[in-house]
Symmetry: C2
Subunit: 266 residues, 2 copies
């Protein structure tokens, strides 16, 4: 779908010359969030095929601790957009999928055959479910992009955990993690490849090394300028503020909600 | 790498005839865990390229809340295998990567410019970091598989959170999530495609529906038989037992360790 070579992708990610790269990796380096879509709906077969890709991801002990729900009804899409910080692409994406950590299914199955399932309230099984759901989602995303579709993750699905639970009629043991907008990208709305922190600050050999950010603040300031965002800000300033308490936008309710669902309490 | 068609993959996953599938999706349906590798090491360029794929995954607000560490030293690989339930493939995989949820990097950067970063102890930012790390890992896995490599995730990296922290010399705000064995699959050790729960039990439209497991217990019993595993057990029995307290294998220490690291405490 995107046409840059892996060398160009590398240069945009890291602001430096690329090493010799396996050309088959290029398609995986070219991800960018797509928020403007053509109107084409996806066929039922395409959705089934994408779900099969999601379900083909690794899942710890084959427990499959996640569920996926699509929202197509226009009235419900409008309600959902309101729950997700009023993002227009939640309203307009041809396909919207929500991903959930799900302990309910395995607990139903296990208790039906006399098992206690008494470990599910440990953080371990919350962590496992979040990993399972995320692996499934990203495999679906890679498959979608390989077939010419674009996507945008919606973390704002966590802004109102109880509202989302009511909206989807979630049973105990289930919590919304993120949404995913999927569709054919609109022409002439090509999103930019975003620079990433240099590899030496994210990838280490043998042991953790704290190695600062290199030139990343500078590269991101240039990127903000180029994209018409406020250029007087660095990644450090933006991100430091983003992880402050005042930007939780409702997500401070996540842990109390998890406890209510019987998750992550010990 | 794997040669089944998407129709064959669908049939093995779901035990039924495939619908019309986009052939480009086949490679994403064919994942299976690989635990036996040829001895070929991966070149430095291949590893760099895979890390670039990982870093090209979506990351919430571009915060990039994860780190990746490779372990190559044979003595350290042996220690690590001990920490990970003595799995032989941890010892023998040509490349071993560990994935971490990482609040440390953003906190260092944010506090250096005078930000408080006071939200990081909320569950929200733990959840965000687990999602970030998992999306990065699965994009790397899809890229690796596309270029002929095989992988196996190692959840046992969570069996001893403090031991893993000591091993990698982790600072506060960092926790090990899972490992990943990567390499060229050994010939004649072809792992089987594992059946998954039917789509109607995992994927819903509009609202959560509890719809049982369909024929999954039966399909998995047949699979266990075929693989020479104990056939007198169903997925429900196996999984119900697996989520009991007696199978936590050290992972009950995860939440106390997270609290110690300043994570997931409110």
């Amino acid at each position: 779908m995107w046409t840059e070579s892996s060398e160009v992708a590398w240069n945009k990610r890291y602001g430096e010359e690329a090493p010799r790269i396996d050309p088959v990796h290029a398609q995986f380096m070219l991800h960018r969030s797509v928020r403007h879509f053509a109107e084409d709906l996806l066929s039922k077969e395409t959705v089934q095929s994408l779900i099969a890709c999601a379900q083909s991801a690794s899942t710890s002990s084959n427990l499959q601790l996640y569920s996926i729900i699509s929202v197509a009804d226009p009235g419900r899409r409008a309600q959902l957009a309101e729950l997700c910080a009023n993002q227009a692409h939640v309203l307009r994406a041809p396909l919207f999928l929500a991903f959930f950590a799900d302990h309910y299914r395995v607990k139903q199955a296990g208790t039906a055959v006399g098992e206690q399932c008494s470990g599910l309230d440990y953080n371990e099984f919350y962590t496992m479910a979040v990993i399972d759901a995320s692996l499934a989602a990203e495999r679906l995303v890679c498959a979608a992009e390989a077939s010419g579709l674009g996507v945008c993750y919606i973390g704002a699905l966590r802004n109102n955990p109880q509202g989302v639970a009511d909206f989807f009629e979630l049973p105990p043991g289930v919590v919304g993690l993120f949404g995913l907008c999927v569709g054919v990208p609109a022409i002439n709305k090509d999103a930019s490849l975003k620079p990433r922190i240099g590899q030496s600050s994210v990838y280490f050999e043998e042991k953790y090394r704290s190695s600062g950010l290199g030139d990343y603040d500078l590269r991101m300031s240039n990127f903000y300028d180029q994209e018409g965002m406020k250029g007087d800000v660095t990644w450090s300033m933006r991100s430091g503020r983003r992880v402050g308490e005042s930007f939780l936008t409702g997500r401070e309710a996540l842990l109390p909600f998890l406890h209510k669902q019987g998750m992550d309490s010990r």
